[in-house]
């Protein structure tokens, strides 16, 4: 019997499989700056300063500028940095895969994500039946899809979409909802409270919901996707609200990315995007319980 592949080999195959999948479907691999003037303003994400600039927390804003400039299908695989995030599933430096598609919404992106994971599992592990944390996970064919409203009503006893409470939302998500999610197959939580939209488009309705999903597999949060927000005024309001929340919490407030807001004003076509944590996917493929065991120099 062959020895189990090393972490280095699994990582190499994983990157190759993801690129192969996206290349074959006409996505162009791009690179955008790692040192940026204006990291995306999010209430709970802190950027690492780098001289007078910051290390990017995600390539999202620059990739959307490329879409506004006419790109139709693009992806990027590269390092992102988030200050202070350290744990079994978090490293302050990690590898993100983001892909964006014009004329697509979040549910189209879910179809992409499922096909991508199917292809990557087959190529890297030779199977879509994985073992992680002592459990078997059937990555295909069934992905359970729940709205945030359904999941919270079932396991936390309230509906954050009807009446949002940010503190209770985070605590109940971690203490009640995430532990209750099925672990033998992937689970998608979708349609977030409008207040937790981040950079997602909101769909009118009573109540309105953010067109956003999060993918979980084996208890790991693997990917986040949006129907991207393209309205410049709404985007400006959200940046301002995040800046105010950060100011009130005594956290650094980053400059608004005016070039990005200009690009939205010029016109960002309807598009969808997915951000997928490569280290987490590697953990799942390798059956690793700690993120440190899937990077070559964990002490850094």
């Amino acid at each position: 019997m062959d020895a189990a592949p090393s972490a280095l080999q699994v990582r190499g195959r994983l990157l190759k499989a993801a690129r192969g999948f996206l290349d074959e479907r006409g996505f162009l691999e791009v690179e955008t700056p790692v040192r940026v003037r204006a990291p995306a303003l999010e209430t709970h994400i802190d950027a690492e300063p780098s001289g007078a600039l910051y290390l990017r927390t995600s390539p999202e804003l620059h990739m959307k500028r490329l879409l506004a400039d006419g790109a139709e299908r693009i992806y990027q695989i590269g390092p992102c940095f988030r200050r202070g995030e350290r744990g079994p599933f978090h490293r302050p430096e990690y590898t993100m895969l983001e892909w964006y598609r014009r004329d697509a919404d979040y549910m189209d992106m879910l179809v992409d994500a499922k096909a991508l994971l199917d292809a990557v599992c087959r190529e890297v592990a030779g199977t879509t039946s994985l073992r992680h944390a002592g459990r078997r996970i059937e990555m295909m064919p069934v992905w359970e899809c729940l709205t945030v409203s359904e999941a919270f009503r079932q396991w936390a006893g309230w509906d954050p979409v009807a009446a949002y409470d940010p503190d209770r939302f985070d605590l109940d998500l971690v203490e009640k909802v995430q532990p209750a999610l099925p672990r033998d197959r992937p689970v998608v939580l979708k349609d977030y409270p409008a207040e937790a939209a981040a950079l997602a488009r909101c769909r009118a309705g009573d109540p309105p919901v953010a067109e956003r999903w999060e993918l979980y597999a084996g208890g790991l949060e693997l990917a986040n996707a949006f129907s991207e927000l393209t309205d410049p005024e709404e985007q400006r309001r959200r940046f301002a609200a995040c800046a105010a929340a950060r100011e009130a919490a005594g956290r650094p407030v980053y400059p608004k990315d005016e070039a990005f807001l200009d690009a939205l004003r010029e016109g960002l076509p309807p598009c969808g995007g997915v951000a997928l944590g490569i280290d987490r996917l590697h953990m799942l493929l390798a059956g690793a319980a700690h993120i440190d065991s899937v990077v070559p120099f964990p002490e850094e």
Binding site: T43, E85, L171, V174, E175
Partner: protein, 185 residues
């Protein structure tokens, strides 16, 4: 005061006047949400455990704790008495010591933990020797160590020992787990 980002496994904290030990610790940050610190806490007064999640904005008390090395001296009506060369002494009840009281041996050096000046816990030497006072007769020649039978040590506490152990033998016990380690020859 500690902030949530100071928390880690093994840290002792104070909540509403009660000292706790963090026995499990995990950083968690749900997508786009706030950083959360998911802990399992052991109440250092009662030994009970429960789960507790802290947020980044939470401030957590730092208990006034100190440790002293004392030697176990004797047991009397007031409890278990520990002394040092300067006649510093601490008395602890059977309830506060729990099963650890069965592993005390005369003159053994223990680390006594004080909270607000009161002794609340001890750390025993890792290995202690205890005489077996009651067990089924040993199977002669059976040196297997993977088959176990119950045996009582002084004080009546029951441990699991291999079949070749007899009443009167001295067993070395790991005080962290209460497990038999070897027979003292």
């Amino acid at each position: 005061m500690y902030s949530a980002s100071d928390l880690r496994k093994g840290l002792r904290i104070e909540l509403e006047g009660v000292p706790y030990l963090i026995t499990e610790f995990q950083f968690n940050k749900p997508g786009k949400g706030q950083a959360l610190y998911v802990c399992r806490l052991k109440n250092l007064l009662t030994g009970g455990t429960h789960a507790r999640t802290f947020r980044a904005v939470d401030k957590i008390g730092e208990p006034r704790l100190e440790t002293k090395k004392l030697r176990y001296s004797y047991q009397d009506a007031t409890g278990y008495v520990f002394l040092d060369a300067n006649y510093e002494h601490a008395t602890m009840s059977a309830e506060a010591l729990g099963d650890q009281r069965f592993f005390l041996t005369e003159d053994a050096e223990v680390e006594v933990l004080y909270f607000n000046g009161e002794p609340i816990d001890i750390t025993l030497p890792t290995f202690v020797e205890k005489t077996i006072v009651e067990t089924e007769p040993g199977a002669r020649g059976n040196t297997a160590t993977n088959v176990l039978k119950p045996a009582k040590i002084e004080g009546g506490y029951e441990i699991q020992v291999p079949l070749f152990i007899n009443t009167g033998d001295v067993a070395v016990i790991d005080t962290r787990t209460g497990a038999y380690v070897q027979r003292k020859t």
